[in-house]
Symmetry: C2
Subunit: 171 residues, 2 copies
DNA sequence: CGGTATCCACATGGATACTG
DNA sequence: CAGTATCCATGTGGATACCG
């Protein structure tokens, strides 16, 4: 893939590149989705996703390597291997759902199935959204970027917020 | 990329593949992140991301093509072109943040900067999570998959929920 | 069953030069 | 400034055959 190049600004102190290192690729999310739907075995993924064997092998290895899934041979037949989501993998559920809901809203229009529901009342979950620290749902227009060093110091005052203009991206 | 293969099950009635068609790739998310941070011009993206010109050109075109960004020549100098997020693009913010927060939690440990804050009080937003329809925050263990046709019909009863076993994926 | 080994087609990505 | 054109290296992905 050629060589590496050094980034010119601080676009890198961000969790996004690190997340994309594993998940920034089509099949990783599809495999994750299948895992969340209860698939555990190589051949299950193979049939469900329509992915090539070598690619599936490669991606599963990568997911295991990054601690997103773990592989454990079954006690009865050591040849059978189960792939299971780790805590780290389970923590990707919000990201996966947000992406899926977005695709459902703007995509071909096929309603996603099955639907993730609250087991208390069986009702579908709410759209993944952005909430303030107090739980209030907030839209993109009510948000601003602040430098990490400023956060928590100046409550309610924008004067010393250098990144406020970046809010312009939101409109 | 070789040929296509037909999927074997209903893994496809899901918004995820449609979302990944555009965003299932490293640079798309990085460009989006830059756009949310207020970058608008080709050369700005170029310098900020450390991406090759041809790839940036290709990705921007794809984002525009999919209605995630729009390009508009500036009135004063028609050569200058501004890239701006559309509504559809803005709607990707939750997915982008969820991914970023996950990467921040499990990645190299670099705290992301800048931080997205509620403009009312300047406090950082809450972690992106899964909420029930009534707004209650719920964890992966309190969730179940239900067939779309069942949703809303049987409130509180699990008896006719065929996909309940799939919950096994969550542990 | 869960892979590995090949082979091939094409996509991705970087560097560089050129263009209107 | 915002690309396009070209070249080259590597990655991704599918098909198939083989293996313990």
């Amino acid at each position: 893939m050629g060589h590496l190049r050094e980034p010119l600004n601080d676009m890198q102190n961000c969790g996004l590149p690190s997340a994309l290192e594993v998940m920034g690729e089509r099949w990783s999310f599809m495999i994750l989705r299948a895992a969340f739907n209860g698939l555990h075995h190589f051949e299950e993924f193979l049939g469900a996703l329509g992915i090539a064997r070598n690619i599936l092998s490669n991606r599963l290895a990568r997911l295991v390597e990054h601690g997103i899934m773990k592989r454990e041979p079954l006690p009865d037949d050591r040849r059978k291997i189960e792939y299971r989501l780790t805590e780290k993998g389970l923590d990707l559920l919000p990201a996966m759902l947000a992406l899926r809901q977005w695709g459902e809203k703007y995509g071909a229009g096929v309603p996603s199935n099955p639907v993730l529901c609250d087991e208390r009342d069986g009702l579908p979950i709410a759209p993944i959204g952005i909430h303030a620290h107090d739980g209030r749902l907030i839209g993109p227009k009510e948000l601003e970027w602040r430098d990490a060093s400023e956060v928590g110091k100046t409550l309610g005052s924008y004067d010393d917020c250098e990144v406020k203009p970046q809010l312009s991206a939101l409109r």
